[in-house]
Amino acid sequence: MNNLFILLLLPVASAVLLAFAKSSSTAKWIALVLSLVQVALTIPFVCAFVPDASVQFEQSFAWISSLNIHFHIGLDGISFPLVLLTNGLFPLIILSTFSKEIKHSFYALASFMQAGLLLVFMALDAFTFYVGWEAALIPIYFICALWGDGDRIKVNLKFFIYTFFGSLFMLIAILYLGQQTPNKDYEWTSFVALDLSEYAQRWLFWAFFIAFAIKIPIFPFHTWQPDTYTNAPTAGTMLLAGIMLKMGTYGVIRWLIPVVPFGASTYGTVALILCIIGIVYASIIAFKQQNAKRLIAYSSIAHVGLITAGIFAWNQEGLQGAILQMVNHGISVIGLFLVLDIIKSRTGTNTLNELGGLAYNMPVLATLFVIIMMGAVGLPLTNGFIGEFLLLKSLYSINIWYAAFAGLTLIFGAVYMLRLFQKSMLGTVDSSYVKVTDVKGVEVLVLVIICALIIALGIFPNSILKLSEASVTQLVQSVKF
């Protein structure tokens, strides 16, 4: 069962199966069961994974033989946590839709997207990577545009063209690198082994960086993100914020810096400063938001800004923290979006001024919300703490001012999160919300799982850190700038 293809094939097969599902309720159950089977299939890999620096479970076969393109996948300490994140979050995301009537095609698209995401994280060949990169974009575009609200058509067209445009520059970079390799192939190992001229590295850096920066998103490439997150259906936002943006941060670790280290050393500081500007800027804007979903969208920019800053610091703590925080952010953010979705389903609004006093009628939700919020803010004993601590430590080791400004995210984060909590949960009970009912059934289940993960990772961050440690050490030692 240790064939990685299974993990890719099952989501594709589920997508095909779900596309032909008759009704929405059967599709729900099929999707849930198949995503749980996917989790079960992941377990043998967890058991067999050796936390050293090697690439494991490798699979490779010639895809386009005359162009020397291989379908080459494998796992190492850096990609494995993200594969776990993807497969782990999927059942939760599907469960979160159980209270709604969503058409079967939603589940088909989501499953297809899962395959694309996994392909991105597993790919060891640039062509394979690119295919996964785009394959994940198509379904999420349809999910957001079909089931979103507001100005969904325009917003999502912007999102699609923006990200597609970015990835085309990456395609040029990949083509150029392939042309440079001795065998004209697109393997990750041959890209990393290249001895590129400084001039080439400079423009290659930007070609890759723009693709990843749009996806993450890093200031000033973030303009698509708040609108897309706000207008997307909750499950779509979860997919976008929980998993898809990790494609960008993962791309920086796997492709950008190892392939063009000189470019990264030249412009890494610029990228780092952009990340830190983004942290402060997004935090301040988040504080001003009235729409709770928009608030979380901006807070997400701040959080991933910190993750990317840690990556560009390029040291052991930074990368370890980034990988841990990618997982943490994925868990916390889907928790937050789920809470907002539940609030909206009860009250019909996500506008802060119209909410208030919900804790009175919804004590269980309020309690779980506090835990998720603590995780997002980064309080000790929750998952966010260790990740942010490592990231800030890595920035501190480069320049104290980076750490000082990036550290503002902790303070700002606490401020806007507490404001969100206070405005929605505390205060006087609005007369129209007297009859709201507390969370129950599946909602509680999902929220409790998320809270359990938040606390478990807060107490045992080593479970993730240990997976990535050896790979990160090797990467940091072999690629220096």
Binding site: W63, I64, S65, S66, L67, F127, Y130, V131, W133, E134, A135, I138, F142, A145, L146, R152, I153, L157, F160, I161, F164, F165, L168, F169, L171, I172, L175, Y176, G178, Q179
Partner: protein, 461 residues
């Protein structure tokens, strides 16, 4: 050669069938003939090593692969014709016969080995089309299109013929190997006639493939012609012209690459921008496809400026991807126009709800035209971009990428209309005859198959 003879005889046979009012036999006989022609092509695979018939034609794998592509696409288009022609005309036999003659010309263009043969092929292909474009005698747009196409086509033929004459004047031969040998023997002191000949040939061929600035006939002709004829023109004729184009330039004129590459580079950039930006402005799906076909000509020219080992297979792959997607898109357009009476984007509103399969096929074909991975269009674009990268045309690629992003905008427009707008006519489904369903599913499967397992096409050449 068997295929060309079969198709010529088949054309005449179909005419007689029309004469004796055997209407129900027309389509089966035509399809059977196409299958026989296809059989001839496949049986000749790997056998053609030297030119035959006094060096007039050469049936190497290059010629055969492109011929097969042309025959398959024509077959798909004719399969759609059953109800289509009957609805617009009484003399259905003419259509079949003219398309078959045009196809015969296309096969000659794919397999010529002598410039005289190239000229005859292009003429046979075009003359039949002049009639087909104007076949709706009472329709104003159709007449205008025919006249425009004829005048422009005559002009370009003039250029082509003059170019061939100049080449003959310089080299004393029509045979392309002879011309190639002349180039090799006289590497420095080439006659000025020769350069003039290349330029005029270039103009003539660019006219035929519809590249800017020689594209002005394309939108009106594509728009005015019956949709099925448009789909034939924009796929088979274009692919065959490109086969002729690349053969001439890669086989004969490649030593003079420094001379014609800058010209072609400029033409590609203009073609891409003109095609894409004007396509952006269209509100009619049919006109959008017409302009987008200009931009696709621009992409296909990539293979000609960078004549590498993979140039032939990349243009074949791209031709396959582009033709399949176009046939699917035009088939969808025929159905929508038939039921809603309009070829505007608005007519596609709500198709995702009423006709999920049709909407899916159109979506996949649009994604293929836009070059999104897992479709054939991406493989084609990747190969063409890769061959341009082999010569380090990085600026050109950057411009191409900008154009690809523009392209996504207008290709997604129809997708947006199909899925995200409510239907204008309520819940009425668009009637899809079985023949259309077969073609739609076939194009869908082939597009995805080539997208996932491109070796099946690439390894042919």
């Amino acid at each position: 050669m068997g295929a060309i003879i079969t198709l010529s005889l088949l054309g005449i046979l179909v005419l007689y069938l029309g004469l004796y009012k055997a209407k129900s036999l027309l389509l089966p006989v035509t399809m059977l003939g196409l299958v026989v022609a296809l059989g001839f092509e496949i049986s000749a695979w790997n056998k053609g090593v030297s030119p035959i018939y006094n060096g007039m034609v050469l049936f190497d794998n290059f010629a055969l692969a492109f011929s097969i592509l042309c025959i398959v696409i024509t077959g798909l288009i004719l399969f759609l014709s059953k109800e289509y022609f009957r609805a617009i005309s009484n003399n259905v036999a003419e259509y079949y016969c003219l398309i078959l003659f045009s196809l015969t010309g296309a096969l000659m263009v794919c397999s010529y080995h002598n410039l005289a043969m190239l000229f005859i092929g292009i003429e046979v292909m075009s003359v039949a089309l002049y009639i087909l474009v104007g076949i709706r005698k009472t329709d104003f747009a159709s007449n205008e299109a025919a006249l425009k196409y004829f005048l422009m086509g005559a002009f370009s033929t003039g250029f082509l013929l003059f170019g061939i004459t100049l080449l003959y004047g310089a080299t004393g031969t029509f045979d392309i190997t002879g011309i190639k040998n002349y180039l090799i023997d006289n590497p420095t002191a080439l006659s000025p006639l020769f350069y003039g000949g290349i330029l005029l040939l270039l103009v003539g061929l660019l006219f035929k493939v519809g590249a800017a600035p020689f594209h002005f006939w394309t939108p009106d002709v594509y728009d005015g012609a019956p949709i099925l004829i448009t789909s034939y023109m924009s796929t088979v004729v274009k692919v065959a012209s490109f086969a002729g184009f690349i053969k001439l330039f890669s086989y004969v004129f490649s030593p003079l690459q420094d001379f014609w590459t800058p010209i072609l580079l400029l033409i590609i950039v203009i073609t891409l921008f003109v095609g894409n930006i004007t396509a952006l402005m269209q509100s009619s799906f049919k006109r959008m496809l017409a302009y987008s076909s200009i931009s696709h000509a621009g992409y296909m020219l990539f293979a000609i400026i960078s004549l590498g080992a993979n140039a032939n297979s990349s243009i074949l792959t791209y031709g396959f991807a582009y033709s399949l997607a176009s046939v699917a898109a035009f088939a969808g357009l025929i159905l929508v126009k038939r039921s809603h009476g309009s070829d505007q984007f608005v007519a596609f509103d709500g198709l995702g709800k009423t006709n999920p399969l049709l909407a899916l096929v159109i979506t996949v074909s649009m994604l293929s035209l836009a070059g999104i991975p897992l479709t054939a269009g991406f493989i084609g674009k990747f190969m063409l971009f890769r061959s341009a990268m082999a010569d380090y045309h990085i600026i050109l690629l950057a411009l191409a990428v900008v154009n690809a992003a523009i392209g996504v905008y207008y290709y997604l427009r129809v997708v947006v209309h199909m899925y995200f707008y409510p239907s204008i006519t309520g819940e009425d489904t668009v009637a899809v005859p079985t023949s259309f369903n077969v073609v739609l599913i076939l194009t869908l499967l082939l597009t995805v198959l080539i997208g996932i397992y491109p070796n099946c096409v690439i390894s042919l050449l």
